[in-house]
Symmetry: C2
Subunit: 415 residues, 2 copies
């Protein structure tokens, strides 16, 4: 029987909107890979009564409860005490954790304030999870057939503790294997994709096919449940082929991270390099490319030309072109791409110039008007985009997506 | 009496970790401003039974339920039907919405597929919220003293619908006013800040003081509840002064967005301009500065020099310096900052060079070693930072934060 899980985040700062519950996303993704069905996310504040009620409810409807947050040294961190009360366990000092904790502070050259010692307390007879990124350890125990895992709230602590401790604990519980492949689509919306695939989606249950909207793109996940990896994989292959035959035209990759990582991979395969010249995206293209580990093998750098002065003096966009067409124009996009390609000696160069808003530019160009150019060994192409009056962030991300998709199609010799 | 709210997000894609529940954060922040206490976030999948159970529970424990998601045209979008069943209302075609919907598709030049018509159905006798960013309208109604609001899942649709419809609906319910000021702190951790303020935090209840950890920084929120804005404000002023007297040294702003927005504001006040030269941050500084609306008045642009070639040819970092000290060194950081300042003619220039990981660089420098320089009218300063073996993203964000804080302190003539 498949295990079911509820994630309970503890933190008034989440209910106040100060921070987002990113741990829930990370854990959900990892639990899905382990074949554990996450049925609920719950968030409560730093309030022992409501946390207790949430725990009492959770133990009736799932067999794995994972809490995040509330393990720290401050006085509103109440998760451990409340869990101990709910499940009838004592919260006790773990002497080895006290030694470790004092060592961490000594190593950092900071005095250990008294409140920090609370972090060396955990329920009796639990499996301890070390915290390699912070000072609050986590733990797990099983009571009446319900597994309770406590992880810290800060995302980098939570993620590392999951990998180094909680994951193995959970693997030991699971038998079923869930495997999936994700087809990533750019340039076609969720409802269009679903219409194209409707009959397939309804027909398939294992493997199943489900479309998901992501910001500015869409994904199709093909999922199989089986007794082993190889069995699941064998079920997935024909299902993926069937879906690809219908929507393959817009699929930019299978099981890939994003458009920029596909670009970096293709560039590396071809031994080619990329540079960027950015106006309205203001560094976003460069930032997204350099988010990809190992991007340095393909990415040489770029210029953020936020003023006409920098466009002219650094990128050598002719002043006459800027005067005649304005900075937001197709000829300037082309000159920026060709300029940064010449400046850096890269094989490929992308450029973006446009109006990200919130206001029209001084020539009266609409918010959302963006020109994108790609200078490549086989010539320069450019594109006019109208992303509409959306948020600044949305327009910038869309412009970057479109630019990366142009590069990807060129590298794959597609239209 | 204060209103209490539960946010229920509907979407298997959240439980699978494909997307994060960002709507909950946005709504929580906005509801706090309206004086509505958000007590729970709940996420359920596209499962009518579990959604119904969540609704039945929510109506017993809060008086405002806001759902997000499940309003779209695809067949797993079940929120409206389930809410209608739970609260005993009919889901009916709203003819005016059908007209509007057909108009939206006509304007986009796309045929309206049959499944889209489901979006013109809403509970009878509800307040309709227009969707200015998409095709799924939302709505609100009140049943047995419980207000139920339905908003769409995609974040830009949800945010705009809140502003243009739901917010006014909620304002009409509320009497209490909650006002708060947020002190943003860089360079001092949450537990240190709490220790410094402990006695004040425990003593104060209205106004209250609470510390929150954000990624790489910390915030203090001072909050007052009162019958009017001016009354709340009068309560807040002395509380903020008291806290500032203790931790003011590390406060970079009150009610400000982030470090980069403070930098942009200070630059504009002084009529000064900024350029950046980035190696390991790869465009992140430029991206964060240009995230600030109106940054173009102060930001001229920058160079992402991901290779030594670009550092030398574009930024004119002497080749001898690169050979002798390596790209990750204090002299190179200084030369990068001074180089981009000369190239662009800006008043100030920030540079970053370091090892973001995942691996050591080819000179064996540790992951997390970063040099930052600030070239200013009164000279150039630089700094060596060791951020430790953290994630690539964490090191890059920390480097950017430290750079912006150096600029802020220089602009405010602090050390």
């Amino acid at each position: 029987m498949a295990h079911t899980a509820e994630l309970i985040a503890v933190g008034t700062e989440i209910l106040l909107g100060n921070i987002s519950n990113t741990d829930a996303q990370m854990l959900s993704e990892r639990l899905a890979e382990l074949g554990i069905d996450v049925l609920y996310h719950t968030v409560v504040g730093d309030n022992p009564r409501r946390l207790r009620e949430a725990l009492e409810l959770a133990r009736t409807r799932v067999d794995i409860i994972i809490t995040t947050g509330g393990l720290g040294p401050t006085y509103d961190d109440l998760t451990k005490q409340t869990i101990c009360e709910t499940f009838g366990r004592r919260n006790v000092l773990h002497p080895d954790l006290e030694v470790w904790l004092r060592g961490v502070f000594a190593q950092r050259g900071r005095p250990m304030t008294a409140n920090n010692l609370a972090q060396a307390y955990l329920p009796e007879n639990c499996t301890v999870f070390q915290n390699h990124n912070g000072t609050a350890p986590g733990c797990a125990f099983c009571e009446d057939g319900v597994h309770v895992l406590m992880l810290p709230g800060p995302p980098h602590e939570c993620a590392l503790m999951f990998e180094t401790g909680a994951e193995q604990y959970l693997r030991n519980l699971s038998h079923d294997v869930i495997r999936s492949h994700t087809l990533r689509i750019y340039g076609k919306g969720e409802s269009d994709v679903e219409m194209l695939l409707r009959t397939r989606i309804e027909k398939m249950s294992n493997p199943s096919v489900a479309p998901y909207a992501k910001p500015d793109e869409c994904m199709l996940r093909v999922t199989a449940k089986a007794g082993s990896d190889s069995e699941a994989e064998a079920m997935l292959r024909p299902a993926v082929d069937e879906v690809m035959a219908i929507v393959g035209e817009w699929v930019y990759g299978i099981d890939v991270e994003n458009l920029e990582s596909v670009c970096v991979t293709l560039l590396k395969e071809r031994g080619a390099t990329l540079a960027v010249a950015e106006s309205c995206t203001g560094g976003l293209l460069a930032k997204r490319v350099t988010d990809v580990p190992g991007a340095s093998a393909a990415f040489v750098g770029g210029v953020v030309s936020y003023t006409n002065g920098v466009k002219n003096q650094v990128l050598h966009v002719p002043q006459a072109l800027l005067d005649e067409h304005g900075a937001v124009s197709e000829p300037v996009a082309v000159a920026m791409a060709e300029g940064v390609r010449a400046l850096t000696g890269s094989d490929y160069a992308l450029s973006v110039t446009g109006v990200a808003g919130p206001d029209k530019d001084d020539r009266g160009n609409d918010v959302g008007l963006v020109y994108i150019a790609l200078a490549a060994p086989n010539g320069t192409v450019s594109k006019e985009c109208r992303f509409g009056k959306r948020t600044r962030e949305h327009i910038r991300q869309q412009a970057a997506n479109t630019a990366f998709d142009m590069l990807r199609r060129n590298l794959q010799a597609l239209s």
